[in-house]
Subunit: 315 residues, 2 copies
């Protein structure tokens, strides 16, 4: 077995950090480590936490860590920021808030910022979850900022997805998008002492009741929880609800090993194929100078990009 | 020349609708139309409008259309929704608001919802912009919902990017993410009669002043505009500012043909290569049954996904 993999399995945090950094940077040799870790995954419970900027996700995560630690559960946190390749660091302020857990060996917190090659952040997050799982963390909290497609893809790696909203964010049904609604297992109305809290609650209830499909299939009916994370209110309720959802998954799917579900395996494999093939192709097109030649012809207006792309594969 | 392309160039809306639908659905033959349209692009001015759900983007777009029409400018609108593959239609409510323009021949409004194959929404949007450009629209407004990476990628196709925020959305600097800040040319504080408007203004000012890089390079300094779109307040200011930014681009870059800028050409070509190669590879792997065989082995726990992916390319 790979030495680094051995150390990760023994819970060595410096080795874990190194492996996740290698994943982030897209270092090919990390694959050997991941192959060795893979048989030791599927044990941790993964919770995704998402919502628009400013709703208090980090404070909520911070409180969840504290509650889980009281129950003697170990916790891994991945803070994923899909927009940060531009200038990075925006999420740093939040990390500081979680500092009170930094000396606790039962907690491991890591930011994932780089997008990887060819949009591989979903895949990087998936493998980083595996690493924290293999190192023995009981719970893994994956926090993402935003409400876009990347965030939806990322939280799809979780067993339970928690959507955080605040009162008064939007006047209309658009405030929580259909796509987000469908991935949400539990909704938290944070800062629920604010004006408009009851309106948000009834809007959410309406939208959940409209989501007929889930009901018809005897599926999970998302719960809504009012919270004030900063005052530690509603966190107990949230964890009780997460436990209920966990029981529901075990009852309906037989186990928690989501990476063995055909749908998720297909998605992951396509993502891996994309990264692998694009790395190979772009490497070749760059080395032979074909890529820059095509760019130059387009820039000069001598060819349209559609024909240029065709030509790259026809010679 | 392709018959459909001819009709698009003549401004036939049914043909335009058909071409955009084909782009959305990833129909390969649409490429021939796009090749014929390409020489007729680069004339329209493209404005990206983005921001979190509920900030009033659609109302703002609706007012911008009205103002541009008063100046006898023709307008195309693309409403892009990266999260909608899940259940679609969430954006519909907004379209209804724009209905007052539906009988105006100078306005063409289209939603783009499908993600295309292998994450090609950015590319689909780019080509749809070309179609509206070739059909002769003076202005193209691209509205996206959300604050994630997809939205950032999509608005990068615009000449001018407008970021819409509302007062009191977030307590901290996180409310407007670093990545969003960097793509924003103009910031609109909508619903500016709300409490916290001045705080949002000073926060934004601070962030813009911190963005040293742009200043150092003699770049564009983003302007902040207070608006109440629903009462038609601030729209004139916004359009004046957009004109200023347009002049700035022409002064610094010589022209508006952004699809001829090497950076953008590179991005677009990589995106096209990805879609082309993934379509080919997945087609082959599916036809030969190799893909499903790999999925099956992973599901049964007989192989890890990393090795399975390697094997797909080694035989």
């Amino acid at each position: 077995m790979n030495e680094l993999a051995k150390k990760v399995l023994a819970g060595d945090v410096r080795s874990v950090a190194r492996v996740i950094r290698n994943i982030d940077d897209g270092i090919p040799s990390v694959k050997d480590v991941l192959i060795d870790l893979y048989p030791h995954t599927g044990r941790a419970y993964v919770i995704g936490i998402t919502g628009a900027p400013g709703v208090g996700k980090s404070t909520l995560v911070d409180q969840m860590i504290a509650h889980l630690r009281k129950k003697n559960k170990t916790v891994g946190v991945l803070a994923v920021d899909p927009t940060s390749p531009f200038s990075g660091g925006a999420i740093l302020g939040d990390r500081i808030r979680m500092q009170r857990h930094s000396l606790d060996e039962g907690v491991y917190i890591r930011s994932m910022a780089t997008r990887g090659h060819f949009g591989g952040l979903t895949q990087s997050t998936r493998t980083a979850i595996d690493v924290l799982d293999a190192m023995g963390k009981d719970y893994i909290l994956v926090e993402t900022v935003g409400v876009g497609q990347d965030e939806v893809d990322i939280v799809k790696n979780a067993h339970t997805t928690v959507i955080v909203v605040i009162p008064g964010m939007g006047d209309d049904i658009q405030a929580i998008k259909a796509g987000i609604l469908e991935v949400g297992d539990i909704f938290v109305i944070n800062k629920s002492d604010r004006e408009g809290s009851d309106k948000t609650l009834s809007d959410l209830r309406l939208m959940i009741s409209m989501d007929q499909k889930k009901h018809d299939e005897g599926g999970w009916k998302p719960e809504i929880i009012k919270a004030q994370a900063i005052f530690d209110k509603g966190i107990d309720d949230l964890l009780v609800e997460i436990d209920k959802h966990r029981d529901f998954i075990i009852k309906t799917k037989g186990n928690l090993h989501s990476r063995r579900q055909p749908e998720k395996v297909r998605e992951e494999l396509i993502e891996m194929i994309k990264i692998q093939i694009m790395t190979q192709i772009m490497d070749k097109l760059t080395r032979t100078g074909k890529f820059e030649k095509a760019v130059d012809l387009i820039v000069k207006g001598k060819i349209d990009p559609y024909t240029a792309c065709e030509n790259l594969f026809s010679d």
